[in-house]
């Protein structure tokens, strides 16, 4: 098993320790880093590769610079945003490593890996109270393979931290524990790369307190809340600035398409400017709650409330948008567009950029 692309989600205790190990992986050509947070002073003691000068800076950007220093020539892409907001195509065919600190984000990680057919999914975790380091190794491309949520119980789907609640306390895990989980993950990658054995979904836990190692095979559970559906992606190389929506439909040539959606994004209808200038906010595919810029006053304007956004754009609503370039509709490199036809399987297209 060879990996050319890696997606590293979360750059805290475990992610910052995994990064230099990934940098040394032979054959790797591109790494995508995702973390919405900025570096805090408390991070310096428990996260790898940081200096006091990094406090206040974006984790994704700081570690992107670090990675370029470790392996010049490697293509590095940094997303300083929530995992749910990055294009679904970033998961496709990638070695995905989740170094996250909450199950809400793990739901996004798991769904992205299985829907977009990642080559491998690793989920890392640590628990400071009894010095546990864990790695779950999952194979999204293998038919019938367990997903991350197959081993979850009701208690794992805890309520999200609501806006009124105080900030979550830090995990308190040491840098050494993060490095242990990262090393476990890297060893699993090396085993898969070097061995011709049948890959098995597995969870490995090391308890540093009791010096015990636990390993268990993971099996798909029919009562899992995730539907395990995957998209059949066709690559669509195009220029987002030079291709209109109408031209995309022509290129896609899906007969009888009745609706479209951009995976992970929502169609915001044209809205009045929230600054009150009387202008309009252009329609487009944006994240939940994502705003835009007023076409008249040029000021940032609030987007539609989630209830007013549309998941799917029906054919009847296409005509005013057909002449608009995809970039102006909010589409990005590696976004996935799905066209649904009334009498057939949906067709999904992974947008990759060409020079216009």
């Amino acid at each position: 098993m060879n990996f050319e692309r890696a997606l590293l989600c979360g750059l805290g205790n475990t992610g910052s320790a995994l990064l230099p190990l990934l940098a040394a992986l032979p054959g790797l050509r591109e790494v995508v880093l995702v973390d919405r947070d900025r570096i805090e002073r408390a991070n310096l003691a428990c996260q790898a590769g940081l200096t006091a000068a990094d406090v206040g800076r974006s984790k994704a950007r700081v570690h992107a610079r670090r990675l370029r220093g470790l392996r010049p020539g490697l293509k590095v892409v940094a997303y300083e945003q929530d995992l749910a907001r990055i294009p679904l195509g970033e998961w496709h065919g990638a070695l995905v490593a989740g170094c996250l600190d909450n199950n809400e984000a793990r739901v996004v990680l798991n769904a992205g890996a299985f829907r977009a057919r990642a080559a491998l999914l690793l989920d890392l975790g640590v628990r400071a109270d009894n010095r546990l380091a864990r790695v779950s190794v999952l194979h999204p491309c293998r038919a019938g393979s367990a997903c991350l949520e197959c081993s979850w119980s009701e208690a794992d789907y805890s309520p999200a931290r609501h806006a009124c609640a105080p900030p979550a306390p830090a995990s308190g895990a040491s840098a050494a524990l993060g490095a242990l989980a990262a090393s476990l993950a890297m060893l699993e990658i090396e085993k898969l790369r070097d061995s011709a054995l049948e890959p098995v979904a597995r969870e490995v836990v090391v308890c540093a307190d009791s010096h015990e190692i636990f390993s268990s095979a993971l099996h798909r559970r029919s009562a899992c809340r995730f539907e395990h559906s995957a998209l059949n992606l066709s690559t669509a190389p195009l220029s987002l600035d030079a291709t209109t929506l109408g031209e995309f439909f022509h290129l896609a040539s899906v007969r009888g398409a009745t609706a479209m959606r951009v995976e992970g994004r929502f169609y915001h209808p044209p809205l009045s400017c929230s600054a009150g200038c009387g202008g309009r906010l252009a329609p487009g595919f944006r994240p939940r709650g994502g705003g835009g810029v007023c076409q008249v006053c040029g000021r940032p304007s609030a987007g539609a409330a989630a209830f007013q956004c549309q998941t799917v754009l029906a054919q009847a609503e296409w005509p005013p948008l057909l002449g608009i370039p995809l970039s102006r509709l909010g589409l990005r490199d590696r976004d996935v567009i799905t066209l649904a036809a009334a009498d057939g399987q949906p067709s999904s297209f992974l947008i990759t950029l060409t020079s216009s």
């Binding site: 739901v107 999200a160 209830f307 007013q308 956004c309």
Partner: protein, 185 residues
């Protein structure tokens, strides 16, 4: 789905949205429940607004306005939109799921149309309606942490004035238990 569009067939709409498996079962259960909730009392009206959306309309006494100077208690119809995102059984955010549409309500745990309460993934319409009603009627107020600081100050200073509406949400036979509503086992 566009809330303005009429519902022709729930099955067809679910297919269009690419919704299958446990979440499709959950939505089917919510659509069946919506009719029962709509007839379970005088306070709540439930309207279907798409395969994954509902409009909840509460006839209740609440505090209308945007600040301490202009707020006033009034009997009115408050509209809230409910949208169940595709991953709702697995993760849920109140900002996505519940939107206050009209009118502007003054409450410590409500700001800019966004409610603040503990939302468990997979919480069904019946429980959502309860939580929203208890907030709108000021039966429930989190006076420790708030979204609207001015409303939080008002709530602390006027503890004797709330709750504003003490009627139960459902005056007739309560709909089916939540565990049967969720559609998953």
């Amino acid at each position: 789905m566009n809330p303005a569009q009429p519902i022709h067939s729930l099955e067809a709409e679910l297919a269009l949205l690419g919704i299958t498996g446990p979440f499709a079962a959950f939505l089917n259960a919510q659509h069946k429940l919506a009719s029962a909730l709509d007839q379970a009392g005088d306070v709540l009206r439930v309207t279907r607004a798409g395969a994954d959306r509902f409009l909840l309309s509460f006839q209740c006494r609440t505090l209308i306005g945007s600040n301490q100077r202009d707020c006033r208690a009034a009997d009115c119809r408050v509209m809230a939109g409910i949208w169940f995102p595709q991953d709702y059984l697995r993760r849920a955010s109140t900002a996505d799921v519940v939107t206050l549409l009209d009118p502007r309500v003054f409450h410590p745990n409500l700001r800019g149309g966004v409610f603040c309460f503990e939302l468990k993934p997979g919480m069904g319409l019946r429980d959502l309606a309860h939580v929203i009603y208890e907030l709108l009627s000021w039966q429930t107020v989190n006076t420790v942490h708030g979204l609207d600081d001015e409303a939080l100050d008002w709530a602390r200073a006027n503890r004797n004035l709330w709750p504003l509406d003490t009627r139960p949400l459902f005056s007739k036979r309560a709909p089916a238990a939540e565990k049967e509503d969720t559609g998953h086992v």
